[in-house]
C-alpha cells in the first residue's frame, strides 16, 4: 500500500532480489523480524498444539463444568469458558483451524489462480479473454459475501468454509500472475525459448511461473491476513468450525453473550486473531517494499 502503481517495470532488478536479500532486510527491520518470529511461533504452536496445551482434551472440546466461567488465574491464565474448558488450551488448539487452514486456502488459491493467470497472459487472445472474464465475475462479488453464499450452499463446516474461501480468492492470483506474465513475455529469454522451439506448456511451467514466485509471495503474505480474518468471520457467523471444536472466531462468538462480565472468553481468542493478522500485515508491508508487486497491476 506504500506505492502507487508505477508503469516502469524493471524485471532485472526483480531477479536480484534473492532470498538472502529478503532475509537480510527482514533481519535488519525490528518490526518485520518480530512479526516473522510471531508467525513462526504461532505456526509451531498450531503444529504441536496437543503437546503445548496444558489441557489438550479440554482444548479439543471436553467439558469440565466445575470450572465454569473461572476467571484468569495462574493455573488458567486465560480463564475458563462456560463449559469450564481452559481458555489457554482452547486458544492453542484453535490455532489449527484459524491459522493452518487459511495457509492451505491461500496455497490452493495460488495453485488454481497462478497457472490460469500464466496461460491467460502468455497465450493472449481468446484464452486470455475467457479466463479474465470469468475472474471478473468472481471479483464482482465482495469476497466474503461470495464465500458465505458458497459455504451455505455446500453446508456448514470447516472444510466447506475453506473451499468457499479458495473459490472466492483464486481470481486475485490469476490477475496478478497474468500481469507479471505479460511483462515477462517480451523478455529475451522467453523469446529465445520460443525461437528454439520449446513447447508453450514447458515455457509456462519452467520459465514463466518460477519468475512469478516473488510477487505471489508478497501477495500471499498480505492475503493470509485477510483470509485469517475471513475464516474467523465465517466461524464467528457459525459457517466455519462447528462446536465443540476450537476455533478463534467461533470462541469470540461463544463468549459474546458474556463480554460484560466474563470478558476473558472472547478477549483472548480475538487477541490471537488480531496479533497473527497484524504480524502478517507488518511482514507483508516489508515484503511489498522490497518487491512491490503492485507495479504489475
Amino acid at each position: 500500500m506504500t506505492a502507487i502503481p508505477v508503469l516502469s517495470t524493471e524485471p532485472e532488478i526483480q531477479s536480484a532480489r534473492t532470498f538472502r536479500h529478503v532475509l537480510s532486510v527482514i533481519v535488519r527491520d525490528p518490526l518485520s523480524l518480530l512479526s516473522t518470529i510471531v508467525i513462526i511461533l504461532f505456526i509451531l504452536i498450531a503444529i504441536f498444539a496437543w503437546q503445548v496445551a496444558p489441557y489438550p482434551l479440554e482444548g479439543a472440546g471436553k467439558t469440565n463444568v466445575s470450572h465454569s466461567m473461572l476467571p484468569p488465574s495462574p493455573g488458567h491464565p486465560f480463564g475458563a469458558d462456560r463449559l469450564g474448558r481452559d481458555m489457554l488450551s482452547r486458544v492453542i488448539m484453535g490455532a489449527r483451524p484459524a491459522l493452518i487452514v487459511p495457509i492451505g486456502v491461500v496455497l490452493f488459491a495460488v495453485l488454481i489462480g497462478a497457472p490460469l493467470g500464466a496461460i491467460a497472459g502468455y497465450k493472449g487472445g481468446w484464452a486470455d479473454e475467457t479466463i479474465m472474464r470469468i475472474t471478473d465475475l468472481f471479483l464482482a462479488f465482495p469476497s466474503l459475501l461470495l464465500a458465505m453464499a458458497i459455504a451455505s450452499a455446500l453446508g456448514r463446516g470447516l472444510q466447506n468454509a475453506a473451499i468457499a474461501l479458495v473459490v472466492s480468492w483464486w481470481p486475485w492470483y490469476t490477475r496478478l500472475v497474468r500481469g507479471v506474465t505479460i511483462s515477462l513475455r517480451e523478455r529475451y529469454f522467453i523469446e529465445a525459448a520460443q525461437a528454439t522451439g520449446v513447447r508453450d506448456s514447458v515455457i509456462i511451467l519452467r520459465h514463466i511461473l518460477p519468475n512469478t514466485i516473488s510477487p505471489i509471495l508478497v501477495q500471499a503474505t498480505v492475503d493470509l491476513g485477510l483470509v485469517i480474518l475471513a475464516m474467523g468471520g465465517l466461524a464467528f457467523l457459525g459457517l466455519g468450525t462447528q462446536p465443540p471444536s476450537p476455533d478463534w472466531g467461533l470462541m469470540v462468538s461463544e463468549g459474546r453473550d458474556f463480554i460484560l462480565k466474563q470478558w476473558w472468553i472472547s478477549t483472548f481468542p480475538g487477541l490471537a486473531i488480531f496479533i497473527v493478522v497484524l504480524a502478517f500485515n507488518l511482514l507483508g508491508d516489508t515484503l511489498r517494499d522490497i518487491f512491490d508487486p503492485r507495479q504489475y497491476r
Partner: protein, 341 residues
Amino acid sequence: MLRKLEFVIRRLFTSVFVLIGVSLITFFLARVVPSNAAALYIGPKARPEDIERVRKQLGLDRPLPVQYAIYMADLLHGDLGASIGTKRPVLAEIIDRAPASLELLFIGMLFAILFGIPLGVLSARWQGKPPDVAVRGLSIVGVSMPAFYLGLLLQILFFRNLDWLPLAGRVSNDLRFTNPIAPLTNFLLFDSFVTQNWVAFKDVTYHLVLPALTLAAYPIGLIARMTRAAMLEVLEQDYIRTARAYGIKDVVITYLYALKNAFSPTLTVIGLTFAYALTGTFFVEIIFNWPGLGLFTVRSLLNLDYPAIMGMTLFGATAYVIINLIVDVLQAWIDPRISLK
C-alpha cells in the same frame, strides 16, 4: 467531454455483462451446487410432497438453460422467492431492512473518509516524524482488527467501563413511548431531523457511534495508507516545489494543490472499502443487534433460509457492481486521464 461520455457508456455496458455473470453464479449456487435444491428452498422440515411441488414450481425438473431463463424472468420481475423464515417475499424483506443498514453504511463510510483522508495527509506531511509513525501504526491496527472483535472491545470500553454510549440497538426502547420517531424513510437520523424530534435525534446519534466506528476501522486504515502514499508521490513533484519556491504557505500547498491530485487513488480505495463495509455490516449488525440486512442475512444463513441467502447474495453483488461503476465514473470525471485508457 465526448470521450468521457463514451467511457461512461462503455463502463455501463460492461457492468450489465458483469451483472448477467453474477446472476449466473448465483443461479449455479442456488440450483446446481446443492444436491437437493428443492428441499433447501422449502426448508429443513419439508414433507416429500412439498419438495415435489417446489421442484415443479421452480422448474427443477427442466433442462438447465430453461431453468436459468425462468430464474432470470423472475429476477427481472423482482421476484427473489419467499423467505422460509418470515414467509414474506425476500425483496420486501430487503427493502424493509435496507434503510437501517444503509444508514450504518453511510455514517461508517463518512467516518472513514473524514478520519482517513486527513490522517493520511497528516502522515505524509510529517513523513518519518512521530505523527507519521502514529498514523501508520493506527492504520495497520485498523486493517488487522477483526470487526467482530473490535465491536466487542468498544462495547466493553464505552458501555461497561465508561458508560458513555449505549450497548446495542438503533434507538432506546423507552423512546418509542416518549418521543416516537415518525416512520418516514426509516433512516432514523433523517426522520428525527426533519420532524425536529431532537431527543430522538440525539438518541439515534448516540446509538450510531460505536457501530459506525467499528465498521469504519478497516476503511480508515486503508484510506489513510493510500492517501499517505498518494500524497508522498505528489509532494515530490516539480509543481509543488515551484509553489514552495513562490512562498505559498505549506498548508495551502498540502491541502489545496497536493490533495487535489492525490485524490484519485484515494477514491479507488474508498470504492474498494465499500466491498468490505458491505460484508462488514453483517458482523457489526450482529454485535450491535442492529435490525438491518446483515442480521437478516446471518439469521438466514444459520436457519438455512435458502431463498433469503441467495437473494441477499445477488443484492450484495449488485450493490457492489453499482458502487464500482459510480467510483469509476467519478474517477473519470476527476481525472481525465482515466477515460483515455
